[in-house]
């Protein structure tokens, strides 16, 4: 089955990044423009959801409708509140400033799972704090309004680029490695116990050197992983692939543009796949024969 992508917004300056369906429209990050935009499929209009985002990339919507963002430029997860203000969260992991979050997801209990990577673009401000000696997935638990604690989840990652939870939230998928930093890119599945502690990982994908790995992923209603990966520069072509929970590549589709970034389902019944890309566009493909997972 051919997936027919059309560009519905952009091109923005630089790569577009994280996406989140708010029930009526698709929020997406124009990272270099430091804006989160909102594409409304009912009228085709794109408006500004939030400006001055400090290079926020990955975004996720909490149960109360507020938005959490992975602010690459400020080395923190931020909380975009309904009144238009933005609150910082917890910037310290065991007393040390963590790296540059690029992606995040929120589970049914409200825990925020964070891909805390090293990044090509340095953070804002004077270099008062070194980066952590590791780049890991972190989890952020809330203890009342504005009060958070960070915990390290993975101890074996080179630099996670994307995080995703299985439908039952018992498996954490982690896309690890940034080819632009020379990493080998892989996709891991970590079993999570009931306390959210990760067990021994299983490697689902292990790419060759110089192949661009997964930068963003989402889940379909069958529990398969939809992932953006590859580029024209080397290795596998820019692709959107469907990966089974066991790691089998079920489908490979040409991405709508080079350097596909992240993806999310949207529209009525979550029947449309949206993709961001290196050319700064927002693309969508309708009627792909798959729907997004509706999380409770």
């Amino acid at each position: 089955m051919t997936w027919n992508f059309e560009r519905v917004a952009g091109p923005c300056k630089g790569r577009t990044g994280g996406l989140a369906w708010d029930g009526k429209a698709m929020l997406f990050s124009a990272v270099a423009e430091e804006r989160i935009l909102r594409y409304d499929p009912s009228n085709g209009e794109t408006t500004v959801f939030r400006g001055w985002t400090g290079r926020t990339n990955g975004i996720a919507i909490a149960k109360d409708g507020t938005v959490f963002g992975a602010q690459e430029g400020g080395r923190r997860v931020v909380h975009f509140l309904a009144d238009g203000s933005t609150a910082p969260t917890q910037e310290l992991l065991d007393g040390a400033h963590h790296n540059q979050p690029v992606d995040l997801t929120i589970d049914s209990k409200g825990v925020v799972w964070i891909a805390d990577a090293y990044n090509a673009t340095p953070p804002y401000g004077p270099p008062a704090y070194p980066f952590l000696p590791h780049a890991s997935v972190l989890r952020m638990d809330s203890y009342g309004p504005g009060s958070y604690r960070l915990t390290r989840v993975t101890h074996d990652t080179a630099g996670p680029r994307a995080v995703l939870l299985s439908a039952d939230e018992k498996t954490l998928y982690v896309a690890d490695g940034d080819v632009e930093r020379g990493d080998v890119c892989q996709l891991f599945a970590y079993p999570l116990d009931r306390h959210g502690v990760a067990g021994h990982r299983k490697t689902l994908l292990n790419l060759a050197a110089n192949e661009r790995g997964i930068e963003g992923m989402c889940l379909d209603s069958d529990g398969n992983i939809i992932a953006c990966m590859g580029w024209n520069k080397s290795g596998c072509a820019p692709s959107v692939v469907v990966i089974s929970p066991g790691g089998t590549i079920l489908d490979t589709h040409p991405a709508p543009a080079d350097v596909p970034m992240r993806c999310a389902f949207g529209d009525a019944d979550l029947g449309t796949l949206y993709v961001t890309a290196g050319d700064g566009g927002l693309y969508r493909a309708k009627g792909i024969g798959r729907k997004g997972l509706k999380r409770s």
């Binding site: 001055w52 400090g54 430029g73 804002y124």
Partner: protein, 307 residues
């Protein structure tokens, strides 16, 4: 990220003819404060014979007296940044993470002088200076909404520009002085107050503005642009009595003559200077705030008194 304080030394380089009138080849170095995270906002208080400075990330305004030591003035300090003294010798503070400009009253309470522009929250007031007519001038870049460890409770930006503001001496009127900087940071006046210098950390440039009698300024001109490969950006800035402009900038503290030409560079080797203040009775001590410390050295020319 800084070197050991045990081995800190002041060195000079980039020496142009006549540099000896600025500083000696091997100036002394004295550590004033070591248990701080991010030093900023130094101001010498001649009446109190004490140095005010801030630790932005440590969230504290400090004062230090020779022979006595360090004492907390305010903590938490809303991640305060630049400081200066007004005509009544009150400490006036650029409130950075707290997005305000505030003043310490004679009774020890704190009064907010500015927190909004046209109904919207300020960006993050960075550095501040009081002119001899009592007006308060400050830069308002967005760094206090972004920088690691420096933000306050609301880090959303609301203003479209990053102005230099002026608050009138009576505190009743606030105006935009200049809006042509990408990231206005340090600011100071020439000794006769006819020129306002503003540096821009993003563009690595110092701009000069002619100051008009009504408190507005003319079109800016580029005073100096830093083009070298060294780390660091223009940050804190002060003038000496000859009108030379001293600026913490790439690789150290640059001293420029009134035409903008560099005369000498002063380095706190292995350390990252953020701001400077002239002080002590002869105004010939140079207090340097670094990431991680405050140090003092001696120079051969007096600074413009901070009050």
């Amino acid at each position: 990220m800084h070197g050991l304080l045990e081995t800190i030394a002041i060195e000079v380089d980039l020496c142009a003819p006549g540099w000896e009138r600025i500083i000696d080849p091997s100036p002394p170095v004295e550590i004033i404060a070591r248990d701080i995270i991010f030093g900023e906002g130094p101001t010498w208080d001649a009446r109190g014979k004490q140095l005010f400075f801030t630790d932005i990330i440590g969230d504290t305004i400090w004062k230090w007296r020779p022979g006595v030591g360090q004492e907390v003035v305010l903590s938490p300090s809303v991640k305060a940044n630049g400081t200066c003294l007004d005509l009544e010798n009150r400490l006036v503070v650029a409130g950075w993470g707290g997005r305000t400009v505030f003043r310490m009253e004679k009774n020890g309470t704190w009064k907010t002088l500015a927190d909004r522009w046209q109904g919207k929250k300020l960006n993050s007031p960075n550095d501040i200076v009081v002119k001899s007519d009592g007006s308060v001038w400050f830069t308002d870049p967005p760094g206090g909404l972004l920088n690691v460890g420096m933000v306050g409770p609301d880090l959303q930006r609301y203003l479209e520009t990053q102005p230099v503001f002026r608050i009138s001496a009576d505190g009743k009127e606030m105006t935009v002085v200049a809006e042509d900087n990408t990231y206005p940071n340090g600011l100071c006046f020439s000794p006769d107050e006819k020129i306002l210098y503003v540096n821009d950390s993003r563009e690595r440039v110092i701009r000069a503005y002619d100051v008009k009698p009504d408190g507005s300024v003319g079109k800016s001109r580029v005073f100096h642009k830093y083009t070298g490969p060294e780390r660091g950006v223009p940050d804190g800035m002060k003038c000496d009595v000859d009108g030379n402009v001293w600026c913490t900038a790439p690789g150290g503290i640059w001293v420029h003559d009134p035409s903008g030409k560099p005369i000498v560079r002063i380095k706190t080797e292995g350390h990252h200077p953020t701001n400077i203040a002239f002080g002590d009775d002869d105004w010939k001590s140079l207090y340097i705030t670094n990431i991680g410390s405050v140090v003092r050295t001696r120079v051969n020319i007096a600074g413009v008194p901070s009050r």
